[in-house]
Amino acid sequence: MTGGFLGELFAALSFGSALVSALSLLIGSERKGPETPGWRKIGYTSFAIHAFSVVGIIGTMFYLIASHQFQYHYVWSHSSSELPVYYMISCFWEGQEGSFLLWTFWNAVLGGILLLFGNKAWRDTVVGVIASVNLVLASMILGVYVPDLGTLVLILLVILSPAVYLIYRFLQKKDDLLSKGVIHIAGGVVAVISATLILTDNSGVFSFSKLESMFSSGGSPYLLAFLFILGFTILVVTQIVKAVSASEKKELDTREIFSAIALIFVGILALTTEIGTAKIGSSPFLLLKDAFPDAPIFRANPDFIPVNGNGLNPLLQNYWMVIHPPTLFLGFASTVVPFAFVMGGLITGRYVEWIRPSVPWLIFSVMILGIGIIMGGYWAYETLNFGGYWNWDPVENSSLVPWIAGIAALHALVAYRKSKAFLKLTMVLVSVTFLLVLYSTFLTRSGILGETSVHTFTDLGLSGQLILLMAIYFIWMLSVFVSRWNVIPSGTRVIRYRSAEFVLFLAVAVLCSVGIIITIATSIPVFNSVLGTNFAPVKDVSFFYFRWIVWFTIALAILSGVGQFMYWRRIGKKKLSSALLRPYLLALGLASGMIASIIFFTNWDFIYEPRYREWAELAELSENGIIKAFRYVRLSFFIFTDEILLFSALFMVLANLDVMINLLSKKRKTRIVTGGSIAHIGFALMLIGFLFSSGYDQVISKNVNPQELTALPQDARIDNVLLEKNRPRDILGYQVTYTGKKEAHPPLEDVQVLWQTEDEFKVSFLDVTGDKYAIQLPKLVFLNAVGKINMDFVKEFLDDKIDFLRPKHINDRTLYGVKFTPRLNNKDGTVEYREDNSFVLYPEAEVNSEMGLIAHPSRKIKATSDIYVHVSTIPKVEEEEAKFEFYRVTAQIGDTMQTARAGIYFAGITPQETSGTPFSLIVQVDLQIVTDKGTHLVANPLYRIDLQNQISIKDFYIEEIATSVAMVSIDPETGTFGFQFQERTNPPEDIIVIQALKKPYINVLWLGTFILVAGFVVAMVRRIKENFRLGGKPDVAEEEYPETQERAD
């Protein structure tokens, strides 16, 4: 109980301190002229308190999870006693509350770093903005339910804010004739529009119904809200008109515009909000009994505490899930820093100076976000069974779009630093990156994606707060931009076509285009809920995105090659083309070679080949000439895309490599500026990796047994094979054999109790191979004298009986052994199986009572490709009652005995050493078995005679043929031996259906990722150094490197 109370205390403290910090720092930073040390002191101190309390919340939560306090709803929902410590960390952010906390935490860390080491001139605003974000985030985990609080706040806002606003205006005494006149005209227009809106019903017919509803139950806020919208719309319009018509350009008052726009939104909110109870945030420290007050168990026993939690989603029980979310959230969180610099720059009138200190942060942000996204992809590749790393799921897209925006912002920024043009564009893009992060948060957490995504969070009823979060920053950004737009220096107004900045601008435009397409396609559910339409999500997702994006990607690759040359090399008119000729020819040659080798030496097919064939048929069949022509053009446009993409990516690698070598070979000074070209090379390699691993991936689990194939319909997609245990089957390039489930073998180690109830307990242990298993046991049998579980006895028992108990791996997983043996078709028609190159993969599956079969793939990583296999289904086998047949056979050494499913060769007997008891004889029988499936096995039953001629026999169970064998007699005179067979006549079938894929050159993708990150690191180091070197001095453009200067005109 105390833990949760402490946590809630920290949560409240973090909210309050963020509020104080944000207000003081932002108010302080808006003041110009004399220093405002008082505000600053309060702001910094409260930020420190905020950071401390965030750490406090997290510490408390982790303590609750680690000590398995299942009386807490969050702990119960996301964790269980079985979880090892590192997965306890990931269950911390499985839920929404935890991941909000993660975000808050990173913001606190970033704010702390900026406070301690940041540029003093920017500290106030930047930390203030971060505090304001954390204020909103902290409200998400407050979990306060107050009856009618919403209504109360609304009424207060609606009544009080106009009063405050009017007083503010009065104090300013800003009045002139022009604005009065404009107010009257604009007011008239707005009044007419509003009256029309209010006096007509939804179909546009004159009616009083809306007006009536305003005055009915709780009507007063509605009417006030309406007046409100009216008044402040007029104000905003006037302000804008004033700004545009004013002869002298000057700053408008941000606060005035912000408050006016905000008040309009408050009015709209008041109009649309239902009056009732309000819930602010969702607390992670909620008690289970408060979450389910109506559950019968709590009515019967209010102190009930569940023994175990619900557990962590098995898909998240992967080490990538321990590091992917924090990385991604650090990426998300860090986008606020460049945003804060832009806002700070605008508010305080430092329109250009914000750039230098914010560049390293922008690079850091896109780097971390990129790493986070790729980690998520790698996790999906390793854990999920859709066979890839990217599924164009809305959740994935909504993390990709901010990254693309960030990259666009970075390039716009570079263009600005090169040419002193595009300042406004840069500012807008940096801000939009942050807004997109907020939009992405809204998409994934409001539950709006619903059916279109597999991994959104559950809706916690925070949609309102999430919309508010977006609205606040959108309005703020809008008002700051509107009030300062006129005074932002325009800088260079004209650029040359043949210049790096022009190429950079094109790249920015292309990046924005890609971002827009993805955003629109991902936002269909949002359009549906806003517009009331009923559009289903995009069909055939991967082809849709491929079709829309691939040419933009090709353009980017080529622009990057050309742009880098223009940026770093002195280029006259002739020189550019001749300089680019080398990478161009090299790329062309390399691409042709690679394509030729794909055509002649592999059986690879581009993944969309069947679709192009469909398109060709469609074109062939169309009767209308224009449509026919259009369809052929479309087809021809796409049919060589993979080849062109390969060429342009290679061009990107080579051109950037050329530039990089050039920079490295010059003076030492230019080494540090290679970050851009390194990052570009990495990205190009990623493109090549994408193209090969996804474009040329291949289902190899095709049944290639010709007799079986003829019976099948032609269009059936035979992408799965059924495997019976120990029966090898041929698929493309391999022979696969299901070798059975992986079972635990003694000796066991590290036996630990996971949880216990009054009559049962569960233990986990490691078997001889180091795999972790778990089993549930009755408690009574294993209790010692003092009523505790006797662990030694448990271990002894398990060691002895493990073969019979056959426990599952921990978390109810079963590992299925699938052996792959490479199969070569020799030229002379013979088939060769390369046993020495064979490998066994263990795809996992878990039959979850709630989620059904959950399959986890397994991979063989090879230099040129990954072999990827997952269980697609485990056919249900009706478990019959076992029936046995007994019979006896006599044999001499060297004989072969025939059973129903095997031939058994009697190789001989080996007398064993008799330890301890003299005058007794133990004989081990050596049997060699060939089953009807062609497998070779060995069986060693035992036979023992002691002094009293007592015979004891140990039989040997041969699982593969469901038969046990024992030697029952020895006739020394004739040299014959008696054997007894116990054969199951209805052996249990052990079958699985698997799918196997081959992903060529996926390693190039991972390699590219590393190089991309390396490039970012180099670039970031350069920019940090630059900041330290220049300190508070004015900005120096790229002219620092005269030998790379291009302005020769």
Binding site: T492, Y497, C512, K539, W548, N720, L754, S872
Partner: protein, 136 residues
């Protein structure tokens, strides 16, 4: 020296972008089918999304040799149709309380290209049963 005014450049880019927004909207909405019913799907013959429930009393069947999974589904207008799918029974199929199929009619059988499952997941916390709390 050929030059371009930045304002003009950005203007052109914005117009192009607007065109792209329009295009991709029409592309998205054009390729996006609407949620519909079996009756309409049969009438239109095109590729559609249908939402419904698996009719549990008619068992689902997976034909291993031909890799065809077939079952009966009842749509939101309570029309029942046979559905086939060229892959094994999807994971979560049996526990799904709502399914969305994407495909078109081939004769009397709805040929699904994709099946989406809407599951009352254990990991959604909107239900609480004591049984779950007691054993793992």
């Amino acid at each position: 020296m050929k030059t371009v005014n930045i304002a003009k450049l950005i203007g052109i880019a914005l117009i192009a972008m607007l065109g792209l927004v329009f295009l991709s909207f029409s592309g998205v909405l054009g390729s996006a089918s609407k949620y519909t019913t079996f009756t309409e799907a049969k009438k239109s013959g095109g590729s559609v999304h249908v939402v419904g429930q698996w009719v549990r009393r008619n068992q689902a069947h997976y034909d291993i040799d031909n890799d065809i999974f077939s079952f009966y589904m009842q749509d939101t207008s309570n029309v029942v149709s046979m559905v086939q799918y060229h892959d094994p029974q999807p994971i979560n199929f049996e526990t799904a309380d709502k399914i969305v199929i994407e495909g078109k009619y081939l004769g009397e059988v709805f040929d699904a290209e994709r099946i989406l499952m809407k599951c009352p997941s254990k990991y959604n916390k909107d239900e609480f049963t004591i049984e779950e709390a007691k054993s793992s």
